[in-house]
């Protein structure tokens, strides 16, 4: 087991390629607008081989995937990323190819409220530890959400159970972890920049410990979350027995760290953070949304407790 969690050259290349892609394709503006992003954004990712990562057809594993998601998280890239990675672990070759090719959108969750349901081509229904290929029964009732993603209420009819749910869940957790940690870090950097420039009481507000220390605390937690996500990716690629708990740990850690970064950024930016066009809300709402995605934190926590041989009482 390697303790060196820095990105290697190949991973750095992926990260910088994606960062450039996001800039050129203006993914952030798409994220601000909300709704389904322009097709070029999604197909662009597919062309770069992102959805093929950690699949038999792809060029890299979870470690490369995490590097990619750090770049995407930093840019607040919209769309069902984690769900797509779950899907590539459980779908058969033919359907997987559609997801990998960027041609099929995945709605993954526990019905009736499903992310991206109005836009989805493939529906995956979760029940406990199991996942089912499903299809809508009746119309999808479109629901707008805080994070500006179109979700939907829909009844699903199960078609068949799929294998690989555990791998799917692990990849789901660790990809969300990498994305959230990076999104939190992005807010932290913006807030720090603001603290350096914004002057009140005759000095930059970052000079005040009441501002600086909470930022520093966030930085520590986000660093830890990023490290945990990278480590979880390594464990996944090694098919290690503790891969599930590593992924769960990373998910829990990143969720908390990112939310804390969101609150701190709002605190540092003050009223600006409350404006729709400001630098904070479109990221903090996305963090808030993703933190709640299913399979959720509770599932992550259960996995971790199971690994430690604890828990089991008071399950919801």
């Amino acid at each position: 087991m390697s303790l060196d969690l820095a990105l290697d050259e190949a991973q750095q290349a992926i990260a910088s390629t994606l960062a450039a892609f996001c800039r050129e394709a203006r993914s952030e503006a798409a994220s601000r607008r909300g709704g389904r992003p322009a097709p070029e954004l999604w197909s662009g990712l597919a062309e770069l081989g992102v959805f093929a990562l950690a699949t038999p057809e792809g060029e890299g594993g979870a470690a490369e995937l995490v590097a990619a998601l750090e770049a995407l998280g930093e840019a607040s890239f919209p769309g069902p990323l984690a769900a797509s990675f779950f899907a590539t672990q459980v779908l058969d070759a033919e359907e997987r190819a559609r997801v990998v090719g960027g041609e099929a959108w995945v709605a993954l969750g526990v019905p009736p409220l499903l992310p991206w349901a109005p836009e989805a081509d493939i529906f995956l229904a979760l029940e406990g530890e199991r996942v089912f290929r499903a299809r809508p029964r009746g119309a999808v009732e479109r629901v707008e959400t805080l994070g500006a993603e179109p979700w939907g209420r829909v009844e699903l009819e199960r078609e068949r159970e799929l294998d690989g749910a555990e791998r799917g869940r692990d990849l789901f957790h660790l990809s969300l972890a990498a994305y959230l940690a990076a999104a939190g870090r992005r807010l932290l950097e913006d807030a720090s920049e603001h603290a350096r420039n914004r002057r009140q009481f005759g000095r930059p507000i970052g000079d005040f410990q009441g501002v600086a220390h909470p930022l520093a605390d966030c930085a520590i937690r986000l660093d830890a979350a990023t490290a945990l996500a990278r480590r979880a990716a390594e464990r996944f690629d090694d098919a290690a027995p503790d891969a599930p708990s590593a992924a769960a740990t990373a998910r829990l850690s990143a969720g908390r760290a990112a939310l804390e970064a969101a609150y701190t950024a709002h605190q540092v930016f003050g009223a600006i953070g409350v404006t729709l066009e400001g630098p904070v809300f479109h990221v903090s709402r996305r963090i808030r949304q993703l933190v709640s995605l299913v399979p959720g934190v509770d599932d992550a926590r259960e996995a971790l407790l199971a690994e430690l041989g604890l828990g089991g009482e008071g399950r919801r």
């Binding site: 005040f208 410990q209 009441g210 600086a212 220390h213």
Partner: protein, 310 residues
């Protein structure tokens, strides 16, 4: 609603302050604690002056009792005052021979004051049980937590059950007592820390002038004040389940935070025996674990507020 002390209350508190300055205090607590002794002298003084039984007096009631418990805790008095002045009167008319120790039937852990208590009041769920203790019956347990502790095994099966419903009453008053005691203890810990940071200099200035420290201490102050006032409200109201539980829940959570912050901010010296902080801070740990701890008080709060039965 009138939250200023009345003249009578102010007089009681003023007289109590003078008495505690003479008969209590951190130094005394350390000396007694080193020998594992109970402060019978303090209890006697409180008893003779009427403060120990203020809840049973005509003019005063459980609020005054809670104020007394809070003040005694703030002066590091380690006597079973909460039990005597809040819990026992809340369960029955007649006083019990003191000191009185409080324990739960489903918790086999060490009990505060068990080695010095003459009576054990045991929470058995539906009812409370009154058990006379033999001298030397409890087995002393070494403790760094600022209170003498002991284990009681055989005693638990003896004694006399109080009527149905007494268990719930006991728990509610015990929560109020804990909240009041924690509030006073926290106040002392915080005041010591404030004094320390005001005079301790580093980097050319008092460390108390650093904003990060100021904010953390201010947050502690908010928690301590909230704890103290919720305890008082609950006491005055007669320890109904919700008020008692939320007072204990708030005080317990605050205690954990105040413990951590006061030590963090007092640095190395805060852990030494010469500095008084440990007298108070370690007690916060013990108080936080009693009667099911913060988690238990929180559950009781939610049940009392939203479920028909506690």
């Amino acid at each position: 609603m009138d939250l200023e002390p009345s003249q009578e209350q102010a007089a009681i508190l003023e007289a109590l302050e003078r008495l505690l300055e003479q008969h209590a205090g951190a130094r005394r607590a350390v000396a007694l604690g080193a020998k594992g002794e109970y402060d019978h002298e303090l209890e006697r003084v409180l008893s003779e002056s009427g403060f120990a039984d203020v809840a049973r007096s005509e003019e005063a009631g459980p609020l005054e009792a809670a104020l007394v418990v809070e003040a005694v805790a703030r002066h590091a008095g380690a006597v079973a005052l909460g039990a005597r002045t809040l819990v026992v009167p809340g369960v029955q008319e007649a006083p019990l021979e003191g000191p009185v120790a409080l324990a739960r039937a489903d918790d086999a852990g060490p009990v505060r004051y068990a080695c010095h208590a003459r009576t054990l009041l045991l929470d058995e769920g539906e009812v409370a049980r009154v058990i006379e203790l033999e001298p030397g019956e409890a087995e002393p347990v070494p403790s760094q937590f600022g209170y003498p502790l002991g284990r009681l095994e055989t005693a638990r099966r003896r004694g006399q059950a109080c009527p149905t419903g007494s268990g719930e009453r006991m728990r509610c008053w015990w929560r109020v007592a804990l909240a009041a005691e924690a509030a006073g203890t926290m106040r002392a810990a915080l005041d010591l820390t404030l004094e320390y940071v005001r005079q301790r200099r580093q980097f050319g200035r008092a460390i108390g002038s650093f904003q990060a420290l100021q904010h953390r201490l201010a947050e502690c102050h908010v928690l301590v004040e909230g704890s103290r006032w919720l305890a008082r409200e609950a006491a005055w109201q007669g320890a109904p389940a919700l008020a008692a539980a939320r007072a204990a829940a708030h005080a317990g959570a605050a205690a954990a935070r105040v413990f951590a912050e006061t030590h963090q901010l007092s640095g190395a010296i805060g852990f030494t025996r010469e500095h008084d902080l440990h007298v108070f801070s370690m007690r916060l740990v013990a108080l936080g674990l009693e009667l099911g701890g913060v988690a238990g008080h929180r559950r009781a709060t939610a049940r009392a507020r939203w479920l028909a039965t506690p």
